[in-house]
């Protein structure tokens, strides 16, 4: 009798484990166990005609075999995954094919191996648009405006910029010789440049005279941004400015840890955002302790519709703690946090994991109409200032940037703290 009970018990355990294995998919994604699946397993419900995977695979093969317009199988697969992610209706949940994934990695790291120059297309060839401060290209004497005519002896005139860039790229420590034509110089100039790690300048400061107001432009929040920001800020604070403008216009965002660290200069161990995850749990990001700098002057943060994500956190937190006046136009309205999963074929999946709320509890999620046009969302500036486009408009240049001019005016009239 005891033996019989043991056998029944063992069978029950095995059945229970089988069921757990069967429902593991649902359990792992923390959702309700599918009753339909069990009903189908036991034969109570009919098998669906086609599973989603079979449906997808069938159409994939049909398009690949039948389309008159040629498309590479790998590309078609990646287009499919892009469409699958897009069907969720969240503009920030994206599938990135390998090249795009690689670009995103470079962008968020904020440094790369190269010579430290940006090239732009030109009918004659590749033209040097910018040379980064302190980069190998600058040390070797490359100048903006130079036209690249050959790389390592290979002719580069008239070639596509991307191909010229590919030729110049290489491993750290290796040499590349570039021949350039310089405007106003008759003979071509030969330069030998040693490739090295180049930090992309993402936070740059300057003093605006005669008003003696500090100006700090942050173009993105990369891994290397906090240290650049801190250095530039120290440099400006030492000069005892009458006010400070932090320019986040056009800044698409970046990494949350970078923002938290940078806000540490203003706020001591304060809440930055609280994130709400899919299972309802909460996570709070805070600024570091004992990192504040003395800033006895008023601060303006400039924003516009292209200020998104980390920019909105930065500006919104300073607004909530009444630490700065926000000027410009409403921001983009990205109120969610993503994680990037690198996939085995080199592509990656960027997925929204959580929604975030600013310290005041507000959610700034962007709302759009069916044509994708803005309805509401984003931060509302304390003082709305539109940008007046003139022929000579240049952002960051006093006198040629109407928003910056009004920010300076505001700081001149504001009383010091």
């Amino acid at each position: 009798m005891k033996r019989f009970a043991t056998v029944v018990f063992a069978l029950a355990v095995i059945a229970a484990v089988f069921c757990t294995g069967f429902a593991f998919r649902d359990l792992a994604s923390r959702r309700e166990v599918s009753r339909d699946a069990f009903a189908r397993l036991l034969g109570f419900a009919p098998q669906p005609k086609q599973t989603p995977t079979a449906l997808f695979t069938h159409e994939y093969n049909a398009i690949l075999a039948k389309s008159l317009v040629p498309i590479n199988a790998e590309v078609l697969k990646h287009r499919a995954m892009e469409g699958m992610f897009a069907s969720l209706g969240d503009p920030h949940t994206n599938f990135l094919e390998p090249v795009a994934a690689e670009d995103l990695k470079l962008e968020t790291k904020g440094d790369f191996v190269g010579i430290g120059a940006r090239l732009s297309p030109d009918p004659i060839g590749a033209r040097v648009a910018t040379v980064f401060k302190g980069a190998p290209a600058e040390r070797a004497g490359l100048k903006p405006g130079d036209m690249v005519v050959s790389v390592d002896g290979e002719d580069a005139a008239g070639e596509d910029v991307n191909e010229v860039v590919a030729k110049i790229r290489g491993k750290a420590g290796t040499k590349v010789s570039i021949r350039v034509v310089r405007p106003g110089v008759v003979a071509p100039v030969n330069l030998e440049i040693v490739r090295g790690v180049v930090v992309i300048p993402t936070a740059e400061g300057k003093m605006i005279e005669p008003d003696h107001i500090g100006y700090l432009a942050v173009s993105q929040f990369a891994e290397t941004t906090p240290i650049q920001f801190s250095d530039a800020l120290d440099d400006l604070v030492q000069q005892r400015p009458k006010g400070l403008v932090i320019d986040l216009r056009g800044n698409p965002g970046g990494l949350l840890p970078a923002v938290s660290e940078m806000l540490g200069a203003f706020l001591d161990g304060k809440e930055v955002i609280s994130m709400k995850l899919r299972d309802g749990s909460k996570q709070i990001a805070t600024t570091p302790r004992a990192k504040t700098k003395a800033m006895p002057f008023p601060i303006v943060v400039l924003v516009n519709e292209e200020s998104a994500s980390a920019s909105e956190i930065f500006a919104g937190v300073l607004q909530d703690y009444q630490h700065a006046t926000i000027m410009g136009e409403h921001t983009y309205g990205k109120a969610s946090v993503q994680t990037v999963f690198t996939l085995v074929d080199g592509s990656s999946a960027k997925i929204t994991l959580a929604r975030y709320y600013l310290p005041s509890g507000r959610n700034i999620e962007r709302k759009v109409d069916e044509d994708g046009q803005y309805i509401s969302g984003g931060l509302t500036p304390d003082i709305k200032v539109p940008l007046v486009i003139e022929t000579d408009t240049l952002l960051g240049e006093p006198g040629r940037d109407s928003q910056l001019d009004l920010a300076i005016e505001h700081l001149r009239q504001a009383k010091g703290r």
Binding site: S29, S67, R79, G83, L88, S336
Partner: protein, 413 residues
């Protein structure tokens, strides 16, 4: 203690438990995927997530299934509708071809498309196409990142105005380019090129900087209130009883129209007072054509025909001409020629086909095939769009069209 059975039982038990779990999981995978994708991969969704230096290609079924799992597990909102994910993937593939006649159709657009192939047209009663900048399209198909995204905005062009439609009554014509719909601008590469041309002229000192600022401001105003051409296409070809304001450009001039959407009948055969017979390639076209020819029709009008239903081509040819080969269909990605053969044909005296720039799709294939075989004379020039466009139905009332072939004369006679 030394009884060997005592040691074996726990191990067997543990194995049985593990086996039960794996079997359960495998059963679910078979149910969800339709076939087995290695249980070990299914157990760990992380298998598709790269560890260090872990590089391998992934097959399409595994890719889809694994990413479904990943989204279900990680995405901020619950993901329950996997069929919607599959439809999204199909949308991505079809639209990723960057081919104007290959379109993913949502429920409403699909129903309107099916109705149009069965003799009733919705919307304002037109067919349209997207016209891309040729060079940019070539770049984009080679590598999407090579193409300038702004120059990827297509023109929205009217290709067919169905007889008796609200669009025809309003005076809209084939060839018109839609630039504005219900107060929103349909921007295209042409607008981008125009603003760049002004800048270019300014750089050469042939235009003032004020002109550049003006054109930039005007463009910004339009971009702030814009509608995508693909969306405008759906609006114009679906719905009943809705009033639309649209502006078009015809030979450089802007014209404004007000049109109310309505049902437009699109019969397979329509007899005109002058005795000519108008043919539309909708279902039943071949039977109706046979009846008309038997009744003595000698002139067939193939204008304003639309892309039509390609399944009617072969039956229509066999109603109109004897058994034989009628050119080829260059099909599939390789463009492999496949003979267009007609069995059980009908011997008839040659007749006349009226065609023009709006004769395209199934109707154009029909016309060119008969002309090549010397079975019909053509008055006019066709659109050079002899496209064979197939329709596929998907779950959730969606579907898509796909350009699968185009007609060619082929080798031989």
């Amino acid at each position: 203690m030394n009884n060997p059975r005592r040691n074996v039982v726990p191990i067997l038990g543990l194995l049985a438990v593990v086996a039960a779990f794996v079997a359960g999981n495998e059963a679910r995978t078979r149910q969800d995927v339709g076939r087995s994708i290695s249980t070990l991969q299914n157990l760990g969704v992380r298998s598709i997530i790269a560890a260090k230096d872990d590089v391998r290609p992934v097959g399409e079924a595994e890719f889809f299934f694994q990413l479904t799992l990943l989204l279900e597990r990680e995405y901020v909102d619950p993901v329950n509708d996997e069929t919607a994910l599959a439809n999204g993937a199909i949308r991505g593939m079809v639209n990723g071809l960057l081919e104007p006649e290959s379109r993913f159709l949502d429920a409403e657009a699909f129903r309107a498309h099916e109705d149009a192939l069965h003799g009733t047209v919705e919307g304002i009663g037109i067919e349209t196409t997207l016209r891309y900048d040729a060079k940019t399209l070539e770049d984009a198909r080679e590598n999407l990142r090579k193409a300038d995204p702004l120059l990827m905005l297509p023109d929205l062009i009217v290709t067919t105005v169905f007889p008796g439609s609200p669009a025809e009554a309003a005076g809209i014509r084939a060839g018109d380019r839609v630039i504005k719909l219900d107060g929103k601008w349909v921007l295209s590469y042409e607008d981008i090129k125009a603003i760049r041309a002004v800048r270019e002229r300014a750089a050469q000192g042939k235009a003032s900087t004020e002109e550049v600022t003006e054109s930039r401001k005007e463009f910004q105003k339009r971009a702030d209130d814009a509608k995508l051409a693909v969306k405008a296409r759906d609006v114009l070809t679906t719905g009943l009883g809705k009033r639309h304001e649209l502006s078009i450009v015809r030979t450089g001039k802007q014209l404004d129209f007000q049109v109310v959407t309505a049902k437009t009948p699109r019969p397979a055969i329509h007899k005109a007072p002058d005795g000519s017979v108008r043919l539309q390639f909708v279902s039943g076209a071949a039977d109706a054509l046979r009846a008309a020819l038997d009744a003595g029709a000698t002139v067939i009008d193939l204008r304003q025909s639309g892309i039509g239903d390609p399944r009617e081509i072969v039956p229509a040819l066999s109603a109109a001409a004897p058994t034989g080969q009628y050119g080829v269909l260059a099909a599939g990605m390789a463009g492999t020629p496949r003979p267009l053969t007609v069995g059980a044909g009908t011997e008839r005296p040659p007749f006349r086909l009226i065609v023009d720039q709006t004769t395209e799709g199934a109707a154009e294939i029909f016309a060119l095939a008969l002309k090549k075989a010397g079975r019909a004379t053509l008055t006019g020039k066709t659109a050079s769009r002899p496209f064979y466009v197939e329709t596929t139905k998907l779950p959730e009332s969606k579907g898509y069209t796909l350009l699968t072939a185009r007609w060619a004369e082929g080798a031989g006679k």
